[in-house]
Symmetry: C2
Subunit: 95 residues, 2 copies
Amino acid sequence: MAADIYKALADATRRAILDELQERDGQSLFELCTRLTMRHGLGSTRQAVSQHLDVLQEAGLVTVRREGRYKFHHLDTGPLREITARWPAPDQGES
Amino acid sequence: MAADIYKALADATRRAILDELQERDGQSLFELCTRLTMRHGLGSTRQAVSQHLDVLQEAGLVTVRREGRYKFHHLDTGPLREITARWPAPDQGES
DNA sequence: TTGACAGGCAAGTGACTGCTTGCCTATACA
DNA sequence: TGTATAGGCAAGCAGTCACTTGCCTGTCAA
């Protein structure tokens, strides 16, 4: 259920996770931890990233696919359309 | 400068302020307080709303026009484009 | 000039939140 | 079967944030 995509986006680490998943979709938790450290300079522990992924999943921005002992995370940018739909640009659809 | 539009959007009261300004642009602080209470059921004090407006202004989502002892607030949805530009929908190009 | 009105500044407080820490479950492979 | 790997759960801590409270500045009209 799309809990609160706004709160989900409020954290810089979570936004970095979305960036990472956009660049390489379907990463596991450990893969995300590694790449966040390497490419984004974030020293986040596994538990921290896991909690962030929970928030993103609650917001519907990340979907999860289980496979054996792995858990792959996929980006879903769909819920973000709500934002620009709520406050459209003045020269666009607003009447 | 556009501080952090994500943190600015994280609060429900601030989103209600944006809603209000979209419906009726150029409101003063007291006008906003009244309409937030009436139409959105928010019992926000003047100071609380004022602090929210500061955050929205920092984020570039609200611009301010002074006139005598009044201060009118205007909505600017431009910075919101950054969000959908950063994570575009997979099947549509950003435009 | 006086008083009412519109808004500003700053310290204090309670709740939330991101993160750590420690321990646990489950799957794969030797 | 035993062990390393991938991930989960929950309590505790510290920083942040929204909100209040109290007082101050600036504008306008009578």
